[in-house]
Symmetry: C2
Subunit: 350 residues, 2 copies
């Protein structure tokens, strides 16, 4: 069921409902149009709430306080391949990508519900192990869920979160003149996937018993830190809180690639973006960093670099990397002298 797509795109986490057509992606007939159709078919939120249209929804909880809600699903053969990751990795990642959506609002996670379709008993044990590890790492309680048979492994997670009384950081409030920051270097996950695929290909050749042929000894084992970035991504909860404290005006997590996710932030805010440089991780290419996705670093806009630096320092975090600036022309998407690529993964409808 792996779609016939370039390797670095085929594994993308599907954008949540929120990630709606930008100027660069409108006119397509697939997922983006479907999300718009869903949004149009449902009631719109009251003032003060954010529903479909951001990393997480911001709603009033039972006592009137602000509650963050997000959901993300991973599907075998679409988002992951059990030849490259084990079920424990799938469990970790399914929770971590949801926590990342909460982090991108300046929040921290509280609870998760986990639905598992099509798992074997052994898979369930491994999934539970990975889920429990992520739940412990992010202090997010797994409080319920559902289990079903089905034709392939599907793990759906829904999370709640809180901003602790602060305003949630939406995508839509960046203003011209705001500086753009990213919480870390990019491209590690895409590079890790490529290395894991190469390694799996080498293994397959060896297993096929082609002993009369020279082994492709030039394919090294996947570097552990790159493989880990793909298999066990880190949600930047502390960084999201620091960005909020430091006056972030808009924020998004880099789930689908810096280009496309910056385009989403810019489109939601009605600003243009001018990027100076892409901070690229060691072992990754510039394209991995720009379009690879699944890095789960946070990109945010803020007015005062000094306040940002102080907030990150106070939280004992490495300083975020300044990558550019928001401008008033809402159509502008540039990296240096080039257009900012905003290609992205769309799920094919059946």
């Amino acid at each position: 069921m792996l779609p016939n797509r370039p390797a670095t795109l085929a594994r993308r986490i599907a954008p949540p409902f929120g990630e709606v057509a930008s100027g660069l992606m409108s006119g397509t007939n697939g997922e983006i149009a479907a999300i718009e159709s869903i949004r149009r078919g449902l009631p719109q939120p009251p003032d003060g709430e954010t529903w479909i249209g951001d990393d997480a929804a911001v709603v009033a909880g039972p006592g009137g306080e602000s509650l963050l809600l997000a959901a993300d699903t991973v599907v075998e053969g679409v988002h992951f391949d059990l030849d490259l990751v084990d079920a424990a990795d799938v469990g970790w990642k399914a929770l971590a990508v949801n926590v990342s959506d909460i982090a991108a609002m300046g929040g921290r996670p509280l609870h998760a519900l986990v639905t598992v379709v099509g798992a074997s008993a052994a898979m369930i044990d491994a999934l539970t192990r990975g889920l429990a590890e992520a739940a412990a790492a992010y202090e997010c309680a797994i409080v319920g869920g559902d289990l079903s048979s089905g034709p392939c492994l599907v793990v759906s997670v829904a999370v709640t979160g809180t901003t602790g009384g602060r305003e949630a950081i939406l995508r839509s409030n960046a203003r011209p003149g705001d500086l753009l920051f990213v919480t870390g270097t990019l491209g590690r996950s895409a590079a890790g996937l490529r290395a894991l695929r190469a390694q799996a290909g080498r293994g397959a050749t060896a297993q096929a018993g082609l002993t009369g042929m020279a082994q492709p000894a030039c394919v090294p084992a996947a570097p552990p830190e790159l493989a880990a970035a793909y298999r066990r991504p880190v949600a930047r909860v502390a960084e999201g809180l620091a960005a909020s404290t430091g006056g972030a005006t808009a924020m998004i997590d880099v789930s689908d690639g810096l280009g496309i996710d910056l385009d989403r932030l810019a489109t939601a805010s009605g600003v243009g973006v001018l990027v100076d440089a892409v901070p690229t991780a060691e072992g990754a290419t510039r394209d991995d960093a720009l379009a690879g996705g699944e890095d789960y670093e946070l990109v945010f806009a803020a007015r005062e670099p000094g306040a940002v630096a102080r907030a990150f320092e106070a939280a004992s975090l490495r300083p975020p990397i300044r990558i550019g600036v928001c401008v008033s022309d809402p159509r502008l998407r540039r990296i240096g002298d080039e257009p900012l690529p905003a290609s992205g993964w769309e799920h094919r409808l059946r």
Copy 2:
């Protein structure tokens, strides 16, 4: 992908994590064991919270107030067949069964997150219509979700809810001497599915062009009220609130059949149950009512029938039907002179 199971079982909604092995179902190697394994692999809740182990979890929200959380998934070929229902029905039902989990705690729904895997563009439109209708009927805001390609239609819903400051009604607090009530007659959904299947079979025969053979004119169209009970089940939110007001000690929704769901309530509470009679819907058999499932009526235990009657009357609801009593022997499961059947649907692991 329809499992090789009796017709009335093959469509059952999978029990959420909460619905753990009872005495009657332990020792199996499938879903029940998997749920226990998941529960064992995760941290346990603090005092005052209920996580895995009930229709919905009861947790502290961001402001400390009580928050209900539940998730349920429906899978094409496991829970529904697109020859018998349309995608709008799937949308309605996916939300309604989650709302029913909130109702079974004495709560009302607040928000829903909806994840859709493997839908066509036309299916998404119909799903959205059904979801929007259920969301309006239950005053439950659909605030986000996720969309992915995949090999079959999977709709996962997570809901939040509130008891409005009242104690949530767990499964586990029934005491010997408590009376048992159900909010309506049972078996309509199972009878509706049987009628829809018979009708679909007749259609298939006609389509096969067997004009030389007599048409099976004895198969009538599915009675609309039975078909509707299967396609568009009603979550008993007002009834759950009335039961809570009337002093319910324990409550569960009838998702898998009166026998198995009463067994779950009794096992969680450590009591036995003695059922006098099964209130059977017109057009349904006793077996439909006892073991058919998907009725989504609520079964509850309460001490004072007068208080129950007054609460339902005050809410302008039809009075609940008294069906039996809780007894001190925790192993007792009887209906009249017979054992209470507690057969149920377990998903096969792959």
